[in-house]
Amino acid sequence: MTGIYLPGDSFLHRLPAGAKLLGLALLCTTLLLLGSPLWLGGFTVLVVLLYAVSGVGPAAAWAQVRPLRWFAVVLFVMQFALVDLYGAVSSTLRIVLAVALAGLVTLTTRFADMTACFERCFAPLRAFGIDPFRVSLLLSLTVRSVPVISALATRVRDAQRARGVSWSVRAFAVPLVVSALRHADALGEALSARGLDD
């Protein structure tokens, strides 16, 4: 969800965002219900096939599950120690496959289509005085904030290094929070300037 949409013309790219999200929910539920290792193996093949059909290369596919690698190792070891080898393999595989599927949806869906879909899903909330546009805007800003906060953190850390300050939580957190609040202020003003506070 961090804006890593890969342009393409596969059937997955052309599928509406709502259909993909529904498919994701159904496939993840199915994944939880699968008991036999044979079925899990078959499911793995299905995920690989979906990636192949979508035209997403191995590097982009790996990037989806890479952040999970240490978590997957810890989960596998714990499950192996507490349950058995089959339990460890199936639990770890379920998590990795679910994340891979979610990543595939992100890679093949424009974020704007995703937020438009959420807006339609949240439309009934109007009855309770909640503006669906604002909910989807909140989602957009959350996603957009990830690289911004990351850049702010890098800047704060670089400034600390330049001044020869060794690692200190307070010296890191205070300027980061101040910068983030300033950014939030500026963003609010920019949204008003773009006429999005009507």
Binding site: T2, G3, A112, A151, E189, A193
Partner: protein
């Protein structure tokens, strides 16, 4: 037409702008002054991001105090830091985001986004993550996101401060070609050479209001 009539702005004890009365009909207007002289507040007053403590600001015949939202539809604002303006993850999506509440069809939005990105040289970056653009490209994207709304007036608050020389020139060239009335707050004096009028602010007051050369000379004297 932008008009200030007896405008004062105070923040706590501090008087940010004092007794400002101006009529700004020219197409290219520059505003210069030291840090804290009230330049950015003046710019923010024009599209109602800031409101006067007393006096009136009228833009396109509308009072900013009563019609701020309406005025913002016709007055685009470009900030110094493009990162604070980019909302969506990719370039095209961010430009399209500006059109979200315009009631346009999907095809119309796509066409207007494509047109504005092509005009300002970002068409090849349409699907790129916005946060991976260079500083200059981000500023161009912020400009596209404003211009796609086709505003009548464009306010730019230090648009080249974070840019290198090449991108500053690019923004300056672009500014020269815009059909809109443009008000630019800047420290980049070279940007103002071809302008119709330049205001110099000092401690919240307009101390010079003239052609670029005369106003900039006054500003240089003031700073020396």
């Amino acid at each position: 037409m932008i008009e200030f009539s007896g405008v004062n702005v105070t923040l706590g004890e501090r008087e940010v702008l004092s007794d400002l009365t101006l009529s700004l009909p020219e197409r290219r207007i520059g505003v210069v002054g030291a840090n804290g002289s009230g330049k950015s507040t003046l710019a923010r007053l024009i599209n109602g991001l800031a409101l006067p403590t007393s006096g009136d600001v009228t833009v396109l015949g509308l009072d900013t105090r009563r019609h701020a939202a309406r005025i913002r539809r016709d007055v685009g604002f470009l900030f110094t830091d493009p990162d604070a303006q980019i909302v969506m993850p990719t370039v095209a999506e961010d430009v399209a985001f500006s059109l979200r509440r315009k009631g346009l069809s999907r095809d119309e939005v796509a066409e207007r986004v494509r047109a504005v990105l092509s005009r300002y040289g970002l068409a090849d970056h349409a699907d790129h993550p916005a946060h991976q653009l260079s500083g200059g490209q981000k500023q161009l994207l912020a400009l596209c996101s404003v211009l796609v709304l086709d505003p009548q007036i464009l306010i730019m608050d230090e648009p080249t401060t974070l840019l290198d020389l090449r991108h500053s020139r690019q923004v300056a060239d672009l500014m020269g070609r815009l059909p809109q009335q443009v008000v630019v707050v800047t420290h980049d004096l070279g940007l103002l050479d071809s302008f119709d009028r330049v205001l110099v602010l000092d401690q919240g007051r307009v101390v010079a209001d003239s052609t670029p050369k005369a106003a900039i000379d006054h500003y240089r004297d003031l700073m020396s």
